[in-house]
Amino acid sequence: MATATASTPVRDTGIGALLRRRAVVKLLLLAVVAAVAVPILNAKWASGAWPEALTVDVSEPLTKASDWIIDNRDSHWLFTYFFGHISNAIVLSVRGVYLVLLAAGWAGVTVAAGAIAWRVAGLKLAALATAAFAACGLLGMWVPTMQTLALMVVAVLASVVLGMLLGLAAGLNDRIFRMMRPVLDTMQVLPAFAYLLPVVLVFGIGVPAAVLATVVYSAPPMARLTALGLRGADGGVMEAVASLGATARQRLLSARLPLARKELLLGLNQTIMMALSMAVIASVIGAGGLGDRVYQALSTVDVGQALAAGIPIVLLAVVLDRVTGAAGERLGAHAEDNSPLRGWRGWSIAAAVTLACALAARFADRLEWPTSWVVQIAEPVNTAKDWMVDHLYTGVPVVGGTADWAAHFTTYVLDPIRDGLQGLPWWSVLLIVAALAWVIGTWQTALTAVLAMAAIGVLDVWNASLDTLSQVLAGVAVTVVLGFAIGIAASRSKRLEALLRPVLDVFQTMPQFVYLIPVVALFGVGRAPAVAAAVVYALPAVIRITTQGLRQVSPAAMESAQSLGATSWQQLRQVQLPLARPALMLALNQGVVLVLAVVVIGGLVGGGGLGYDVLAGLARGDLATGLVGGIAIVCLGLMLDRVTQPTERRAKKGA
C-alpha cells in the first residue's frame, strides 16, 4: 500500500508543489537562459536554419588529406612501413582462412560446423549447424558464404584478442576502467555506418578496410564484458587465493579469469554477432561475400537475389548465436560430463569424421558445391514480388496498397515532421534538446547533447541531419507505440510471451542489413521503407525490455492495488507503468539508438539524409562529404542517446 501511493506521480497542484519537482526547476532555469540568450543570438544571426556564419568548412582540408593519402599511399613511410603491413597481414590471413575453407570443400566445412556444434553445444545444434551450411550451398551461395566466413574468422579473432587486452587492462586497473568506460559505452550506441569512412580514408576500399571496421565495431563488447567479469570476481575467493600466497599472475589465471568465464563467453557471443552484422554492412566498402550480393541486388531492386544472399546471413547469425550461447550455458551449468566421449576423445572423433568427409569429397572430385544441387529461388521470388507489385501496391479495395501506405506515410508523417524540424529556428532546436536531456538526465548529458547538436550545425549538415532526425522520430514513435502495446500484452499473458519469445530471439540476432530486403519488396524505395526497416529492427528489443520491466513490478504493489478495488486498467496505468518507468525509459533509449542505426543504412534504399551523404561520398570517391556525414551521424547518435538517457545507465542489448 505504502509503495503504491509513494511512487504514483504527485497529484497535488499549486506553485509550491510544482517547485518541489526538479524538472520544473530545470525548465525554469533554461527558460531564464533562453530569455537572455535568444534575443542576442537572433539579432546577430537571425533565426531559421543554422546560420552560415557559424559553420566551418572542413571539406577542403579533408579533400586535401584524402588526395594526399591517395598520392602517397605507395611511397610515404607511414604507409609502407606501418599501414602497409597491417593491410598485408589482413589480406594474408583472410586469404589463408579462405584457402583452408576452400580446401576443406563444402563437405568438410559443413561437417566441421556440425562437429564443432556437437562438441560445444550438443546434438540438436549440430543438426541445425549442418543444415544451415547445406542450405547456404543449396541457395548457390557457397563461395560468398565462405568469403564472409573467412573475413569473420579473422575479424573475430582480432576483436577477441584486442577486447581481452583492453578488458584485462580495465579489469585490473581502476583508472583505466574509469577512462575507458564512457568511451566503450558511447561506441556501443553509434551506428555501424559511422565506422566505415575513416578506415576507407586510410586503407582505400577493400577487404583490409572492411576487416578493420569490423574489429573496431565488435571489440568493445568483449572489452567491456571482460572488464566487468574481472571486476566482479567474488571478494572472498580472491582473498582466499591471496592468503594462499598466490602471485599476481596465479591470482589472475587461476581465480579471476575462470570466475569471469561466463562474462567472457557472453562477450564472445556479442562480439561474433556484431562482427557478422558489420561484415555484412562493410560490403559497401568492399568486404565482398554475402553482404556484397545483397548490396548488388538492392541496387538493382532485385529482391530475389537479395533474398538468396540474405537467407545464408540469417542462418549464419542464428547458428553462431545459438552455438556460442549454448556453450556459455553449458559452462555455467557446471554439470559433470560423464559420457565416454568427453574431452579429447569426443574432439578427436569430431576431427576424424570431418577429415574423412573432406577427403571423400576431394577424391570424389566434389570440392565445389555441385551446380546441379543449386535451387534457384531468385526467379520465383521475383515473380511473387511482381505479383505483389501488380496486386498489393496500389488500389487494393478498402485498405489501399502498400505503396499507397508508404506514400501517405511520407506525405502526412515524414514530410510534416521534416519540414517542421527544418522550419524551427536553430536555437530553438538546441533549447528543445537541452530541455529534454536535462529533464530526463543530468546537466552533463544535456551539455553533451547540446554540443553534439551544435557540432552538426557547425559542420554545415544541419538540413540533412534534421531529415534523418525526422525519420528517426517517426520511426521511434511507431516503435514505441507498437512495442509498449505488445510488451504490455505479453506481460499480462504468459501464452503470448511464450509465443513471442522464439520470434524475438531470431529477430534480435539478424544483422541490420537484412531488414532492408523485405521492405523494398513491400514498399519500394524511399524514406518510408527505411523507416519501416528501422521499426522492425528496433521492435524486438523494445518489446523485450518492456515485458521484463512490467513483469518485475513488485507483486505486493499489484496485490494491494487490487485489494483497493482497482480495475485491471487502473492497475496498469497507476501502478505498473509508473513503477516500471526506468525500464520503459531504457526501452525508449534502446529504441532510439536502434532506429537510428537502421535509418542511416536506409540511405541504400533511397532514405536520403545523412546515410545518403555517406554513401554518395563513397560512391563518388568524395570522402570529405562522406566523412562529414559520418561525423554528423556520430553527433546525432550521441545527442539522441544522451537526450533519452535516464540518470542511471543500464546494460545494453548487444547486437
Binding site: 591517395i70 598520392d71 599511399r73 605507395d74 604507409f79 609502407t80 612501413y81 606501418f82 599501414f83 602497409g84 603491413h85 593491410s87 598485408n88 597481414a89 589480406v91 594474408l92 583472410v94 586469404r95 579462405y98 584457402l99 576452400l102 580446401a103 568469403q147 573467412a150 582505400g204 576500399i205 577493400g206 577487404v207 583490409p208 602471485t247 599476481a248 568492399g286 565482398g288 556484397d292 548490396y295 548488388q296 541496387s299 538493382t300 531492386v301 532485385d302 570440392l367 531468385a378 526467379e379 521475383n382 511520407t410 506525405t411 514530410d415 519500394g524 524505395v525 540511405g603 541504400l604 534504399v605 533511397g606 545518403y612 554513401l615 554518395a616 560512391a619 563518388r620 570517391g621 568524395d622
Partner: protein, 321 residues
C-alpha cells in the same frame, strides 16, 4: 618490482615484434583481393558498374573468359570513381565501360602510370535530359531548354516542393545537373532517385499513368524501347565548355566509351588481357543483351550465352589463339 620487469619485458618484446615486421617495405597499393586466384585457378577481376549496359559488357566478357579461355572471373561492384582507385591498386583488373573521368585519367594514367587505356568498347554514350515522347508530342516546345520554366509546374512532385523535378539516378553517375539548373536559371530541383533501378522504377510508374516527367538519362539504354523518350535540347556542347564544373552551361558531350586496364595486368595478364583489349562490339549488340537482362529478367549469364551462341562471327576475333 616484479611487475615492472615484466612490463619492461613486454615492451621490449612488442618493440622487437614491430621492428621485425617493420623491416621490409609493404606496398599496400599493390594488393589483389584476398579471394582472387584461389585454388590455383587463373582469375580475372572485373569491375561491374551498376547500369545495365556495363553489366552486359561484363557478362559477355565473363562468359567468354570462362568458356573459351578457362579463366575464373570475379566480379566486384564498385562505383565509378572508387573503381579507378581499385584498378590502380590491382584490386580490379579491368573496367569495361568508362564514361569519361578526366581527373582520374590525369592522376592514374599520366602521373602514376598504374592504369593503361584498353581501347574503346565500340559504343558511344550520350547523357542528356529527356521527357517522355507522349508529353513532347502534346507540347512540342518543351524540347527546348528555354521553355522548360514554362512547364515547371507540370513536373512538380512532393519531393521537389514548389519547383519542377529533374530526376537524377545514382549520385555516383557523371552529372552536371545541379550546376546546369543553377547556371541556366531553371526553376527546377534535382532529386536523386538513389540508384538506376529506382529511377527506372519511377519512370515506368510515370509512364504507366502517362504523367509528364523530366529525367537525366543516357544512351544507349534499353529503356527507350519500353518508354520512348525525347531529348530536351540544352545549349550546344563545345570543346572545353565543361572545363569548370561550377560554370557549366552546355549539354553533355558524346563520349566514346573506354576500357581501362591495370598496368601490371595489361603487361602480364596473358590471354585474358589480350582478349579484353580486343573486346569491341556495337550499340545494337549491347542493347540486345541489356534488354534480355533488364526487361526479360534473364540472368546476365543466360543472356550472354544466348547472344554468344547466335553471334560467333562477331566474337571469334576477340579470342586469342
Amino acid at each position: 618490482m616484479r611487475v615492472r620487469t615484466r612490463v619492461t619485458a613486454a615492451v621490449a618484446g612488442l618493440g622487437a615484434l614491430v621492428a621485425l615486421s617493420g623491416c621490409g617495405k609493404a606496398d599496400m597499393s599493390k594488393q589483389a583481393s584476398p579471394y582472387a586466384n584461389a585454388a590455383g585457378a587463373k582469375t580475372v577481376t572485373l569491375s561491374v558498374q551498376s547500369w545495365v549496359g556495363a553489366q552486359a559488357d561484363v557478362a559477355v566478357a565473363e562468359y567468354l573468359l570462362k568458356e573459351e579461355l578457362g579463366y575464373r572471373v570475379d566480379k566486384v561492384q564498385i562505383d565509378e570513381i572508387p573503381a579507378w582507385d581499385a584498378l590502380s591498386q590491382g584490386r580490379v583488373d579491368a573496367i569495361m565501360e568508362d564514361w569519361g573521368h578526366p581527373d582520374q585519367e590525369q592522376r592514374y594514367i599520366k602521373d602514376k602510370k598504374t592504369i593503361v587505356p584498353g581501347g574503346g568498347i565500340g559504343v558511344t554514350g550520350h547523357i542528356g535530359w529527356y521527357v517522355p515522347t507522349y508529353f513532347a508530342k502534346k507540347h512540342p516546345d518543351v524540347t527546348d531548354w528555354k521553355n522548360l520554366n514554362k512547364y515547371a509546374k507540370d513536373f512538380r512532385t512532393p519531393e521537389s516542393g514548389g519547383k519542377g523535378q529533374l530526376m537524377d539516378g545514382s549520385p555516383s553517375y557523371v552529372t552536371n545537373d545541379k550546376a546546369l539548373v543553377e547556371n541556366l536559371d531553371l526553376d527546377y530541383k534535382v532529386v536523386f532517385a538513389g540508384s538506376e533501378a529506382a529511377q527506372i522504377t519511377q519512370i515506368e510508374q510515370f509512364a504507366k499513368q502517362q504523367k509528364p516527367f523530366l529525367t537525366y538519362w543516357y544512351k544507349p539504354q534499353w529503356l527507350f524501347k519500353k518508354v520512348p523518350m525525347t531529348e530536351v535540347k540544352l545549349p550546344a556542347y563545345k570543346e572545353g565548355c565543361d572545363a569548370d564544373p561550377a560554370k557549366i552551361k552546355c549539354a553533355y558531350p558524346h563520349t566514346p566509351l573506354q576500357k581501362f586496364l591495370n598496368a601490371d595486368f595489361a603487361k602480364n595478364g596473358g590471354k585474358a588481357a589480350e582478349f579484353l583489349k580486343r573486346f569491341k562490339w556495337s550499340e545494337a549488340d549491347q542493347n540486345e543483351v541489356s534488354l534480355m537482362i533488364a526487361d526479360q529478367k534473364m540472368s546476365p549469364e543466360d543472356a550472354a550465352k544466348k547472344w554468344i551462341d547466335a553471334n560467333e562471327a562477331k566474337w571469334r576475333g576477340w579470342v586469342p589463339k
